[in-house]
């Protein structure tokens, strides 16, 4: 079993990396590109099964910072 934790900057937080990537996309001919935001995906192997409550705790307290980021937890069989 695996967990995928997606961490994204909150919409209100400046994301200069995303803005720079959007600019590069425009240079590549994607003229109508909208806002681009860059986050991260953390893949966690769970040979012992998933403790969902603990995974949420870890996602909230360690893998993301709730002041600037939101996370989404997905469990994969």
């Amino acid at each position: 079993m695996k967990a995928l934790v997606t961490v994204m900057p909150k919409p209100s937080v400046l994301d200069p990396q995303g803005a720079a990537a959007a600019e590069a996309m425009r240079h590549h001919g994607m003229e109508k590109v909208g806002r681009v935001r860059i986050g991260k995906v953390i893949e966690i192997e769970l040979p012992g099964g998933a403790d969902e409550k603990l995974l949420h705790e870890i996602s909230r307290d360690l893998l993301s910072n709730p002041v600037i980021e939101d996370y989404e937890l997905k469990l994969l069989k």
């Binding site: 209100s12 400046l14 200069p16 990396q17 720079a20 360690l62 910072n65 002041v67």
Partner: protein
């Protein structure tokens, strides 16, 4: 007054802090390894700059869980003065000892330069040796120093006088052109509500010797040494 200078794997301003503090009359400083759990005998704590744990995950995110941080929290809760510089500021924010967070610089570049800082409030444990409106020349060196807090938090910081330093130009104006990293409201340093925890991105320890171009950093350390009644 005895200062504890914390050392995490990847700290790299710890020696500068020790050097700067030991040169100040009335101050002495010693290292405390991040796995130590006692701060007994120390009167103040410095969380120095660097790249603790390689800045992996987020700056300060892993250092926050080091054993010594539990003692730092207890030390702070008991009213002991704690100052976090650069990565130390990031660690204190990640720990929840200070509000807000530090994110990637607006310009994406690592910035390493002397900046002007306006003292917003001299009535504090960390700025009482300066005067309100004084401009301090202190270097910065960071890639993730853009201070972020939501509107509500910013308002609380303003109302409580918790913003101690803002980036400014040579005339003391907190202009956008003088903001090196995109920090909200040009914030360079804040204190907690109780007034005994201070975090700042600039490096006062690198501005304590005329040979380094400025001695303005001494205002910060000397403030901690002063008797401050609040």
């Amino acid at each position: 007054m005895k200062f504890a200078v914390l050392r995490f794997p990847g700290s790299n301003c710890d020696q500068d802090c020790i050097h700067a503090l030991n040169a100040i009359p009335g101050a002495s400083a010693d290292y405390v390894w991040h796995k130590d759990t006692s701060l007994a005998g120390f009167d103040a704590v410095v969380v120095p700059g660097g790249f603790s744990y390689g800045d992996y995950l987020r700056c300060g995110a892993i250092a926050r869980f080091s054993p010594v941080m539990k003692s730092v929290r207890e030390f702070a809760n008991a009213g002991g003065p704690v100052i976090g510089i650069c990565n130390g500021f990031q660690i204190l924010c990640e720990s929840g000892l200070l509000p807000g967070a530090l994110v990637r610089n607006r310009g994406l570049h690592f910035v390493c330069e002397h900046v002007n800082l306006r003292v917003e409030q001299h009535d504090s444990r960390f700025t009482n040796a300066a005067w309100t409106g004084q401009i301090l020349n202190i270097p910065i060196a960071h890639g993730e120093g853009c201070y972020f807090a939501d509107d509500e938090t910013l308002e609380r910081l303003r109302i409580n006088g918790q913003v101690l330093l803002r980036y400014c130009d040579g005339q003391g104006r907190a202009a956008d052109e003088a903001n090196p990293n995109g920090s909200r409201e040009n914030i360079a340093g804040i204190r907690n509500e109780a007034g005994n925890v201070f975090g700042l991105m600039p490096h006062p320890e690198r501005a304590c010797d005329p040979l380094l171009g400025s001695t303005d950093g001494l205002h910060i350390f000397k403030s901690i040494l002063n008797k401050y009644e609040g």
